[in-house]
């Protein structure tokens, strides 16, 4: 089976202030504000719209003022 690198994010939703800087820099456009959740600060936290597409570039984490995001990578097998 072919392998690929996939990014995995840890998102601390309660720290998110919905500023959108991460959303604006994501190269694969898979970050957006939650449609369903409101955190205790009253913001709609970010979430991944398509986790499989994450490349683990950490651009989002670089831009996050609140330290919401940790970024990891894993090797996954993909079906052709």
């Amino acid at each position: 089976m072919p392998k690929k690198v996939r990014g995995v994010l840890t998102i601390r939703e309660d720290l998110c202030k919905q500023c959108g800087l991460c959303v604006s820099v994501c190269p694969v456009h898979i970050l957006d504000f939650s449609k369903t959740k409101i955190n205790s600060k009253g913001y709609r936290p970010i979430e991944l719209t398509d986790p499989d597409k994450c490349v683990g570039c950490a651009f989002c984490a670089m831009m996050c003022p609140e330290g919401v995001i940790d970024v990891y990578r894993e090797i996954v097998e993909v079906a052709e």
Partner: protein, 253 residues
């Protein structure tokens, strides 16, 4: 499933949640400073000087020793701290109003004396905490609450360019203007702040990092628009770059 490999983890010494407005670069800059201090193991020997202004509570957000300065006096306080502990990493974290207006003399004199400290000055062209008044760095024509008709040079003069100003002093080892409007510039900022701290640890003299930043709240922009404003407008007036770098040439004995 393969093993997870760390790409980026928020430094443990960056302790939130912070009080900054959504999208404010203060959080990014704090986080980057925390990354450097943690990675280099300097957090145990660092003393930060917090300013008056939005970053007045900076001492709550990075887990090191902190001093809270009177408005504008951070570099004077830092001078005292540094001479009490010459081998510690001492840095001031200030806004533009703090470092370039009420503290213009203190900031300049840190450079004049070549005090072996680092200043990180966050330039967002307004007084944020007090509600968006004109700052020394406000762009000509820019509307603020104390320049409601736009900054008029007849009364308010012209933007103060601190990185250039500080570069002229012989005591300055490094004077750089950076920004944080995209990931590349965040990494660049990290590189230069780290270099400033290294120079300080090597005893090279005064190091000054100006970060061109945003104020989404007082600019009345959403954070992404504010970052674009930095990229498209602010850095025309405040060009990014290295204004002085003594490199290896100057080392104290």
């Amino acid at each position: 499933m393969g093993n997870l490999q760390v790409v980026y983890e928020v430094p443990k010494i960056y302790t939130g949640p912070n009080h900054y407005c959504p999208g404010c670069f203060h959080g990014i800059i704090h986080r980057v400073i925390a990354e450097i201090l943690q990675e280099e193991g300097w957090d145990d020997i660092s003393i930060g000087i917090a300013p008056v202004g939005c970053a007045v509570l900076a001492y709550d957000y990075i887990d090191i020793d902190w001093f809270e300065a009177p408005h504008g006096r951070a570099c004077a306080n830092a001078t005292g701290i540094k001479w009490a502990w010459p081998d510690r990493l001492v840095f001031t974290y200030q806004g533009d109003g703090d470092a370039a207006s009420i503290g213009f003399a203190e900031t300049s004199y840190a450079a004049v004396r070549g005090v072996n400290i680092t200043t990180i000055m966050v330039n967002n062209a307004v007084y944020g905490m007090t509600g968006g008044q004109m700052a020394p760095t406000t762009l000509v024509g820019m509307k603020t609450t104390t320049s409601p008709y736009g900054r008029d040079p007849k009364y308010a003069g012209y933007p103060v360019k601190m990185a250039e100003h500080i570069a002229q002093f012989e005591g300055t080892a490094l004077s750089v203007r950076v920004s944080a409007f995209d990931p590349q510039h965040v990494l660049d900022m990290k590189k230069w702040i780290k270099k400033a701290f290294q120079y300080q640890m090597e005893g090279k003299g005064y190091t000054f990092i100006e970060v061109v930043s945003t104020c989404p709240t007082n600019w009345r922009m959403d954070p992404v628009k504010a970052a674009e404003f930095v990229k498209n407008e602010m850095i025309k007036v405040y060009p990014l770059g290295v204004y002085k770098d003594v490199g290896e040439e100057k080392k104290e004995g």
